[in-house]
Subunit: 348 residues, 2 copies
């Protein structure tokens, strides 16, 4: 990788801060790109130094997803805004059954943001992208004045290829489908809330933030009949189930006793007044699949390192009212409503 | 287009404001999407209500570009952040010679932002997308607390298809190439600065913000030998020429007398202490093409409504120092340096 030009001084990545000039389109921006972004993301597309990336895709339908990340705080146990921004978009692409391939990255930086923090974030993005098998091929940097942003916001947009003859969609779920969750609920949201509230538990609760592309690839290879997959992020599992119920005009029944939640997450939820059903996850998926394929799919998921705690947590019902209900551990039934209010702002 | 569910009250698009709940992943966010975004952007991909869009592309290489928009003020003569966010990314895709096809839209809204302003912006995006022949197929909305953003930031990411056997790139420019500018310089930057400074001139200076996809299509159809195209946005023509000089290891000479600048823009620049070479444009392109094709390309451009004032403004030279120079109207020569400092913050 060659720099475009010589700069009079190297960027001060220890003590330097983002300045308005870093978003100006001039030499200061070029230096930031050369010495920070290109160092971390180095790949043949970015190194073309054009305002766009050009590549060929294998045959198949193309899938596109976008996500802006505004999480606060920027660094947390189990990740940071950099890794999260890759995982979030990789997972949105992967939930269609597609193989994620390329990402764009758009940064909105606040004047005064430490370059050392930016470098840490960018390096974390680079690692996450490598793990997910995607390349960050094009980008953009804007700077806003102090007090007009909040350190660092990152948009990532991903594209992937749906090579197999898969048809997963929120409106394809059928009464009788089984609902499989890939692992424990609530880890991400509780990790962030504990950090914000300054809570300490016997064991640190870490975010589950991770890319699910490989778990998805294993699942669709074995059971292409899956009707829908979603990653229950903002609004948690409750929002996802209600969205699917609305889109597919079905009801949903889940069984509390079958839903995996880590004991420390459960304890923290109780302490914080949160319900794990509504807490954001960043490394879990929920799959809706025909009942006669459910055990086979569950077995594939449990064999995978990212699905070891997978469980069948419920089923889809014929319900014109599109209710989502839960059988509690005490044998009762309660509605799992689609909440309107904000439980956990800036969680992703 | 059908709503996912019934809401107790319609969104108050006259007096309502963005609330934290609009970014929560819950019912309030669903309502904002249903009643505001889907109303404006309605298309079959968005209406699938999945976290990603899926489509087929015609054969060819795929081109991807991203741009976050933080312009201030949000509304200006000739456009607003909505239309600008479409034009900016459509143009970045088109500069490769590709046909822009699909856009994603990621919103970062500040708590308290008027829904009426958001609707105006979104409707403007929808019109701009229609004019550019692109569909906004997937999106994301985040909300940050009052004082942690600045009303509305928009990221758009675009993909297009490079159907023809074109090879345009910043590193392909050759000594001897002619440099053609598609129209007047500085209109966008001066429109924004005049508004910020509260200046009034005899005639209002409007931004040139527009999509150049159709001009580009006409150009590459007639002269596929073009070596490079760029839209001189942030940093202006000066930044673009210096970037190309660095990437292609060439020098550039331009002739001041040939560069079209509107008289009122010229006057405003003098008043504001700006140099039109450094002022952002949002609806102009600069093309580098072999000398023996330059007149043919110029003729095609002048025939097009978006290139009527196109002019050959200079040529590429063999210069190991990669200098960009200008012959002034007085017959002198001056360096057109790549400035480091920020002249016009938040211009796009």
């Amino acid at each position: 990788m060659t720099k475009r030009t010589e700069y009079s001084h190297a960027l001060d990545l220890q003590n330097g801060r983002v300045e308005m000039a870093h978003g100006s389109g001039g030499k200061a921006m070029a230096q930031l790109i050369d010495e920070l972004f290109l160092q971390a993301f180095s790949n043949p597309w970015l190194e073309q130094m054009n305002d766009q990336a050009c590549f060929t895709l294998p045959p198949g339908r193309v899938v596109m997803a976008t996500d802006s990340h505004v999480i606060s705080p920027l660094f947390f146990p189990g990740g940071d805004i950099g890794s999260l921004s890759v995982h979030g978009t990789v997972n949105d692409v992967a939930m269609s059954g597609a193989v994620p391939k390329y990402l764009s990255a758009g940064f909105i930086l606040e004047e005064g943001f430490p370059l050392a923090d930016l470098q840490r974030i960018v390096q974390s993005m680079a690692r996450a992208a490598e793990e997910a098998g995607v390349a960050i091929v094009t980008g953009d940097t804007k700077v806003v004045e102090r007090g007009k942003g909040d350190g660092c916001f990152i948009n990532t947009t991903g594209i992937g290829v749906l090579v197999e003859q898969l048809n997963l969609s929120g409106n394809r779920v059928q009464p009788g489908d089984k609902i499989i969750l890939s692992g424990t609920l609530g880890d991400h949201g509780v990790a962030i809330m504990s950090l914000r509230e300054g809570l300490t538990f016997e064991t640190t609760i870490a975010s589950d933030s991770q890319s699910l592309h490989d778990l998805v690839a294993a699942m669709v290879a074995e059971v292409p009949e899956i009707n829908c997959m979603r990653d229950p992020t903002r609004g948690g599992l409750a929002a996802t189930l209600n969205e699917i119920a609305q889109s597919s005009h079905v009801g949903v029944t889940i069984y509390e006793a079958t839903i995996p939640v880590k004991p420390q997450v459960s304890a923290a939820c109780e302490f914080l007044g949160l319900d794990p059903l509504y807490v954001a996850n960043e490394g879990k998926l929920v799959a809706f699949c025909p009942a006669d394929k459910a055990e086979q799919l569950l077995a594939v998921m449990r064999k995978h390192s990212k699905g070891q705690e997978a469980a069948i947590i419920g089923e889809v019902t014929a319900d014109p009212l599109k209710f989502v209900q839960m059988e509690t551990v005490f044998g009762g039934r309660r509605m799992v409503d689609w909440i309107s209010a904000e439980q956990l702002p800036r969680i992703c």
